[in-house]
Amino acid sequence: MNDARIVEAVLFASDAPLAPADIAHADSALDEARVRKALAELRAEYDRSGRAFELREVAGGVQILTRPEFASCLERFDTVPRTSRLSGPALEVLAIVCYRQPIGRVHIDHIRGVNSSAALRTLLDREMIVAAGRGEGVGRPILYATTSRFLEHFGFASLDDLPRPEELPVVLKSAAPAQESGNAS
């Protein structure tokens, strides 16, 4: 096996930049000088054959990294599949929270007639809602409210800007949240 291949295998599989002296550990026949020579060979090979990656000096060591011109492909690759929409349940929960905040899970479940834990989790991760306090009553339930990110995303200056037309369902109209107490099982 030639030196350059061994060095290439080590750089490829390592999760940190390695100094030439470290790389030399790979084989008893290697020393720092031979590693440096192998690195120069690899660098030239990668440039000549136009590989998508190159050798870079990082933090006192050497690393194989993709060339900067591929950044746009990789970013695209990263973000494209992840753009997402809120699911139906998440939308419902968010609608309830924005009109009835602050409001607890039990009450949200009650309005929707189904368990809303997963949807709440999503909305919390998305920072559309936050835990804004604790209600009265058994277990002092967590109450949720919308965030400034929510306002930004949907283009409202404040919660007063939320449309409240006649056709809004009754459960969303009442300003005062129902007692969160007593219903926690």
């Binding site: 997402s84 968010l94 924005c98």
Partner: protein, 263 residues
């Protein structure tokens, strides 16, 4: 596949088997059969049963739980031995009582063979290394990922929320629950303590807001306690209630209950 080191030769020239080295009773049985060049389709049940019982008699007393599976197979062997001494029941002229045993042994042998191949594939894969360093683009927080949802979507969802619930406080609401069954809750608890050996009562009921689930879960817990499958512990009134699976080995029951523990 696994170590076969657990053998030696006893004074009487017979093989000594240390069952610690076997994955279970079928593994041991296969070892006895192969080491004595027995045709698996014509097992001398009496002889094999004797060897098997001898091997498991050396079981450490502490390992009662593990012994259970060996005893189960021992019982099966004894049953087969007994049936081979009896004349076949009328109408079942060609029924060999060993059939099911042979089927299980062949099946298990196949499992061992596949497991050995998996081990080979695993070793082979372990000689190949993936890229260790992924160029660090810190993965964005979920909140920073683009969100393709507009106010229209949200408002439409708001309008869909029919006033299916009366406006009174939820506690007065008659929730149209599906019937909550005791069996379902017993199953839930068993599954929950399966891997961890204990579970907090609150964790079992948290997915449901309806009180009936809480009550039924508690009843199921009490029933399992009565059957000595579980122990229920609460350090003081209103403290979290824990359900513990009872240790199946009498010598390794969980730590003695501290003073002031309610059971």
């Amino acid at each position: 596949m696994d170590s076969r080191v657990g053998r030696g030769v006893a004074d009487d020239g017979l093989l000594v088997v240390e069952i610690d080295h076997y994955q279970g009773p079928l593994d041991l049985l296969l070892h006895l059969i192969h080491s004595q060049d027995i045709d698996i389709f014509d097992i001398p049940v009496a002889a094999i049963t004797a060897r098997f019982l001898e091997a498991i008699s050396a079981l450490p007393a502490a390992d009662i739980d593990e012994a259970g599976s060996f005893l189960e197979i021992a019982a099966m062997l004894v049953r087969i031995k007994a049936r081979m001494l009896l004349p076949a029941p009328p109408g079942e002229t060609d029924h060999d009582p060993r059939t099911e045993l042979v089927r299980r042994l062949l099946e298990y042998e196949q499992v061992r063979e596949v497991a050995a191949r998996l081990r080979g594939a695993e070793a082979d894969r372990a000689r190949r290394f993936a890229r260790g360093f992924v160029e660090r683009r810190p993965s964005p927080r979920p909140a920073d990922l683009p969100l393709d949802t507009h106010w229209d979507d949200l408002f439409a969802a708001a309008l869909r929320l029919e006033a299916n619930a009366p406006e009174e406080a939820p506690r007065e609401h008659r929730v149209p629950v599906q019937p909550v069954s005791m069996r379902e809750k017993v199953e839930l608890i068993r599954a929950a303590v399966e891997g961890t050996d204990r579970v907090e009562f609150a964790a079992l009921v948290s997915p449901w807001s309806d009180r009936a689930h809480g009550v039924m879960t508690l009843l199921a817990g009490l029933e399992l306690g009565r059957r000595r499958f579980l122990a229920l512990r609460q350090r003081e009134p209103f403290a979290p209630l824990w359900l513990y699976r009872r240790a199946r080995r009498p010598d390794r029951s969980f730590e003695p209950s501290p003073e002031g523990t309610h059971e």
